[in-house]
Subunit: 232 residues, 2 copies
Amino acid sequence: MRARYSQCAVATFLILIWAVGGCGSAKPLLISDGSLDAIRLPAPRTTGGKPLMEALGDRQSSRDFSPASLSEQVLSDLLWAAFGINRPDSGKRTAPSALNWQETDIYVFTHQGAYLYDASENALLPIAAGDHRSATGSALQPYVKKAPVNLVYVVDSARSGIVGRVMSTEDRDMFSDAAVGFISQNVYLYCASEGLSTVVRGMVDRESLTTLLSLRPEQRIILAQSVGYPAE
Amino acid sequence: MRARYSQCAVATFLILIWAVGGCGSAKPLLISDGSLDAIRLPAPRTTGGKPLMEALGDRQSSRDFSPASLSEQVLSDLLWAAFGINRPDSGKRTAPSALNWQETDIYVFTHQGAYLYDASENALLPIAAGDHRSATGSALQPYVKKAPVNLVYVVDSARSGIVGRVMSTEDRDMFSDAAVGFISQNVYLYCASEGLSTVVRGMVDRESLTTLLSLRPEQRIILAQSVGYPAE
């Protein structure tokens, strides 16, 4: 499912993403250096899994990871569960957002690089080559480098409500913080269903990540979440 | 499952709740006026439900409610899914919280009154008699009064982290806002699984509710969520 794109093809692909993005989906500030491949994920499997109440019963945090990679199929399923499009007609998602702002972006960190999940294209867009997983946590969290995937949730107030008489900045930010919680819980339940380990984390190297991901002042890093198979 | 308690019995029950609460569970500021019954819920059914991926596929917001009540069994299942105890040995819950603060309380509004969900006792503790459902929304949300149940999510910084060198007030509040999102998403998925309508809402009459629920300055109302059967 992986294809190496020429610089021109990447540009075309990105223009296409911008053109068809719509529905409040991710509007990436793409800064690929051309050394990282975009990944077109296989179609997510949107059936199956544990019965919901059993997934809730098994939900837990674990910091115990095997270094084994997740397949692109599992990554596709995971990201669809997290914040995929579950109603293609409207572009609406598996998690809610205030007034359907869809202001959360999921950055995906693997040993290869940092990517931006594009739900409408079901693709990982290249952001930065190299293994930057440790920047998604702190020195007190050695498991972060071991987990094959770390997700970083970033909200973008350029896509959310206009602050003013009706809504304060505090309220808007509160809604966006909660929006990340909705998504992260989906990841928890997917992991509980599939026997994966996961833990959501507030200790994130925000300064390094802001630079690495070239985040704009309107973008805020809320939480990170490590995902992988449990250690043997 | 409902029993009318004498004032003395209510006092004993509440002392018991305080004594055995532990595990960071709700520490209610109880202000029952004696005219509202406590409700001991039936044990939640912690198996079954739609396969997770199908529940995610069906997750959506709906403002379309029948006035039909939820049974106490459904209410028990719903609240367990939301933020029940899924690991009795440790008192840990179906949704995560930073450092296991468990700082979120769920207030349950029905036509009879406002209650506090006590996960460890699987009970609804009486807070205020009467139909206060409309205060959980705004005049622009007439469906709020029609939905048989409205949940109000309140975080209590008296149970969360000490602000200081390691954690700012902003970070602590961001984690607590997200904590509500985890719980609300569980409610969404339970409703998707059981064919119930639900919508999470940020427009809440915070002033009225703060007075009604006698919230302390450390408590913040984050979101509300209406739940019921879809209109015919």
